[in-house]
Every structure is written in structure tokens, then in C-alpha cells.
Symmetry: C2
Subunit: 319 residues, 2 copies
């Protein structure tokens, strides 16, 4: 009887936001295949920090990617306590960066804010602080200048990060965001900056949505090797939703070859967590538990089998 | 009195679609600075071929970039006759390509259609046929395969183009279109394909909207040198309109550094026409004559001064 009801559960499960029937059973808490799966908080944007931690635990995921704003809402000390009590690891803290301003006062403010972000990441036990470089300053058309300033800002932050045991993760962003969000547009470009520093100070964030189109991306992933400090997954869907900021899709709903991309990341030696980060109004409108069940199924179907057996050491909680 | 009324005209001119006052006087027909300016037909999408040719002549532009669909509407012979009678050159024909299909029948059909496009370009006196490679076939996630098939299709077309005196122009497209329109995403990638062929058979289309974000794009433009067969300009605007296909803006309304980009194209030796190609619902809603007046002003302000003195030879009508 219990077997039968379990079958029924599988058959009636529905993926969100597609509304399609689930193709595989939902993995249960304790399933070792979930050890490296992380919920990036923005995927369940309507959940509070408390709900996100509880949802991550309930779904049996190994870790969570936190955002600074919801952490600030409850206060850093409380967030640290909740995370510690929950037993989930913090795969990364999002996000520092936004340091392309030309004005010295704004640059100083950005640096100071990034120092605070590093301190928060350290307190939360997140090894990686994700850096979104920022776009062109208002009215500026000097893309090369903005890119140079991003590199300078990282140089100023690297020693601070090192002191706190946090690695800075430069996130190259799809060129769709080059003007208003991220002037570092390719993994190759991110590595050109990161390689100016030791690998334990500055790394790169590999996000399928941002990089799936990059020519010879496999070679750049191999080049990244020990600098990949976060692997984030979500799909590129078409037609793009009206708000392109929310144009990310659930893995499997779009055009990205996750087995191929993940194989490259594995071949490069990555053994860390895999964050699912989806900005999408339809995903946000769905119940959080359904989102987690869907992303866990899609992860097991499209990502996890290509991660290889490595990584058991590195996914242990930090002391 | 005629001087005074001319002044009034200048002062009351309004740019479209911004609604801002014109910053410089509208150039008049006969102004030699307009010799290399071309109206790409899609910028005035609501105009028929007849209207577009008449509008180009009335504004004093040297050339027009035609699209196959409006040419087909009146018939090729009529289009050829109208173009010849108008005295404007055809800077390019848009567009061939869309040859990423995996199915042999579809590939054959795409090849045959591209042969017809080459014949049309030759008949119209267009030296360049713009090739938009096409996206991923329905359901496919094999981006590398689609890119390889695009290169194969170009190899099959190159001898046909040569025979007709037409150069194939590979148009690398902003990665925003990688899934559904153009799998060739950077100028570097387009050149990797083009360089497999003689420069008088296969070249590249340099479009500011598609390439402005590309890392080290100046170096790629220099590498392109004698392979640049079309220079197309329009701006990258934010926030992107809901329909990203229509997200191009009037030069000066967005984030692109036209003087810098144009200087690179000039330094690479380009002496051909400059096509203004803007897909934008607000531009389409404006009266065509106002669109041409605005684009001519913006061209004189942001592009033409950086073109250098070269090119007088190459912009003469073909015999």
C-alpha cells in the first residue's frame, strides 16, 4: 500500500512553472545525490530567509546560496545562528560588486560596502562572495573604462577577502546585461582579471545562463580549473519574457545542454556545490515547495549524473 | 527670409523617437557627408519599397539596404528598375542564412533559397548578401553542431556567390539571439569562419548592436580588415523593450560609443556604406521622413566625423 501511494505521488507530481508531468520521482531528504545541490535564495524570492532555510532542509538539499538583503532583514547574527542550527552549508553569498563608478566617492562607498559583504560571507561560513561587476555609470559610454575599474576594485578587495578566508567570485554576465549590470561579459574576460591574483583570493562564477553561448566555452572552463568557486545553473528560454531580468528558466525548459556543460565543469575539477538560481516571475508565483521539488528532479535528470563522484570532501561543512 | 525660415526649421526639429530637440541642423540632399549613409529598409518597416526608395532619395542618402520580402512583393525586375532609376546604390541585401537545420531536406531547401538570394543581390547591384546564420533547430541543444552546420552551408554557397560577384557577409549576432536567430555570437567567431575562404567570397557584417560589448572588439575589427562588407549602426538601449527583437535604438539614445567604434572600423580600412538598421516599435510608429531626418542628424553627429576621408571610390554606383 505504501508503495502504491508512492507511485501515485510520482505520477501526479507536476513540474513548475511548465505544468508538465514530472519525468522522474522527487528525491527524498537523505538522498546522497542531493548533497551538492544548493537553493539560491532568489529562486524562491517570495520566501523569507527563515522559509528558505526551512524549505532547503525539508527538501533535503545540502546547501543554500544566500543574498545579503534577506540576511540584513533579520540581522547577520540571527542569520548565522539559523544557518548553523539548520545544518545546511552556505554555498555562496550574493552579492558584492557594482564597483564600476567613475566618481571617487562612489568608488569608496562601493569598496566599503564590499568589505562588509566579505565580512558577512565569512560570518555565514560562505567560502564565496559572488561579485556582479556593475554596468556603465549613468551617461557613460566608456565600456573599457568600466571594465578597468572593475579590475581595480577587485585588486583593492582581494587582500581583504584573503584575510577573511573568503574567495571573490567574478561573475561574467550575459552581454544582455553589459550596459546596466555586468560589464564582464565572458568567462575568458573574467579569467583575464582573476588570473592577476592567487586562486585562493579571486575566482570565477560559472553560470550556465550567462555563458552557454560563449565560443569555446569548454576551453575557458578548463582554463578556469581551480578558479571555479561557484557553479550556477538555470536555463535560457525563448521567447524571452518581457522583463529580461526575469528571463531565466528551470533547467530543461530551454536551450542549454546541461549534461555537456556540466561535464566540462566536472572535467575542470570542480567539486563544489551547484546552485540553482532562477529569476523568473512564473517560478516566483509557484509554491516554494513545488519549485524545490521540480528543481531537484531536473537536477537529478540533467546535472547530477555528469558531476562525477568527486567532491565529497569539499562539500563538508566548514568547521 | 529664406534664411530665417530655415533657422526656424532647425530649431523646431525634434528627434524621434526620443522627442528631444534636434541638436544639429538636418543635412540637406546634396550634402557630401551623406554619401556613405544608407537606410536599411527595416528602419522604416512600415514603408513599402517604393516609399523607402523615394524617402532615401528625398533625404539625400547615398544608398539603401534592401530586404528580400519587400523586393519580392513588387517583383525583382520592378525593384531592379526602381533602384536603377532612383540613382541610389544598394548597400546590401538582407538576408540569407538560416541554414542551421540538421534535417537534410531542410538544409537543401535553405541552400536553394540562399542561391536565389545571391541571384537577387546580383540583380540589384548589391555587393553584399547579409547572412543571419539561424538559431538552434527546434528541440536541439547542440550549439556546436549548429555552428558547424552554418560554416558548412557557407562553404557550399561561397562558389555560387563568387560566380555572381556577390560577397557573403556573416553577421555575428548578440548572444541574446543565440538560441533562436544567430548562433554565430562574436566577430571573432565570424572571422574564424570567414577566413576559411577568400576575402572576396566571404566577409563579415559589423553591427554595433551585436558587437559593442565584445571583449577586445577593436582587435577583432582590425583583424577583419578587408573582410568588413557591411557596417550597420544602431544603439543598445535600456531598459530593453518587452519585445527584445525590437530593442534597437536610434544612435545616441543608448550606451554605445559610436565615435570609438567607428574609429576602429575606419582604422581597419573600411570605406563602404554605413547602414542604419533599427528594429524598434517606437521608430516604426514615427513618420518615415522624421526617422530619416533624425538618423541623418545622429549620423553626422556620432558617426560620420570618424569615418575619415577614404571611400569616395568605393561608394560609386556599380556599372
Amino acid at each position: 500500500m505504501s508503495d502504491a501511494s508512492s507511485d501515485v505521488l510520482v505520477e501526479t507530481a507536476v513540474d513548475v512553472p511548465s505544468g508538465l508531468p514530472a519525468r522522474i520521482p522527487t528525491p527524498q531528504p537523505g538522498d546522497p545525490r542531493l548533497a551538492r545541490l544548493s537553493l539560491n535564495q532568489r529562486t524562491t524570492a517570495n520566501w523569507s530567509l527563515r522559509e528558505a532555510i526551512d524549505g532547503t532542509v525539508a527538501a533535503g538539499l545540502g546547501s543554500i546560496g544566500l543574498w545579503r538583503e534577506p540576511v540584513a532583514e533579520v540581522g547577520l547574527a540571527t542569520a548565522v545562528e539559523w544557518v548553523r542550527a539548520s545544518g545546511v552549508r552556505v554555498s555562496s553569498l550574493c552579492r558584492g560588486g557594482f564597483f564600476t563608478a567613475a566618481d571617487p566617492t562612489a568608488r569608496r562607498a562601493a569598496h566599503d560596502d564590499n568589505v562588509r559583504a566579505i565580512e558577512e560571507a565569512a560570518a555565514l561560513g560562505a567560502r564565496t562572495l559572488v561579485l556582479v561587476p556593475g554596468g556603465l555609470p549613468e551617461g557613460s559610454k566608456d565600456l573599457a573604462g568600466a571594465r578597468a575599474r572593475a579590475a581595480e576594485a577587485i585588486a583593492a578587495l582581494a587582500p581583504v577577502a584573503k584575510r577573511h578566508g573568503v574567495v571573490l567570485g567574478i561573475e561574467p554576465m550575459n552581454p544582455i546585461f553589459a550596459a546596466d549590470r555586468g560589464v564582464v561579459s565572458t568567462l575568458g574576460q573574467a579569467l583575464d582579471i582573476a588570473e592577476q591574483f592567487p586562486a585562493d583570493e579571486v575566482g570565477v562564477v560559472v553560470d550556465t545562463f550567462h555563458l552557454w553561448w560563449e565560443p569555446a566555452v569548454e576551453e575557458q572552463i578548463m582554463r578556469a580549473s581551480d578558479r571555479i568557486v561557484s557553479y550556477q545553473v538555470c536555463d535560457w528560454i525563448t521567447p524571452l519574457p518581457a522583463d529580461t531580468l526575469l528571463s531565466r528558466g528551470m533547467m530543461g525548459d530551454g536551450h542549454i545542454d546541461f549534461p555537456g556543460f556540466t561535464s566540462a565543469v566536472t572535467a575542470a575539477g570542480y567539486t563544489g556545490d551547484v546552485e540553482v538560481e532562477i529569476f523568473n516571475a512564473d517560478v516566483w508565483a509557484a509554491p516554494g515547495a513545488a519549485v524545490l521539488a521540480t528543481l531537484a528532479r531536473r537536477y537529478l535528470e540533467l546535472v547530477e549524473p555528469w558531476l562525477g563522484a568527486a567532491g565529497l570532501d569539499t562539500v563538508r561543512p566548514r568547521a
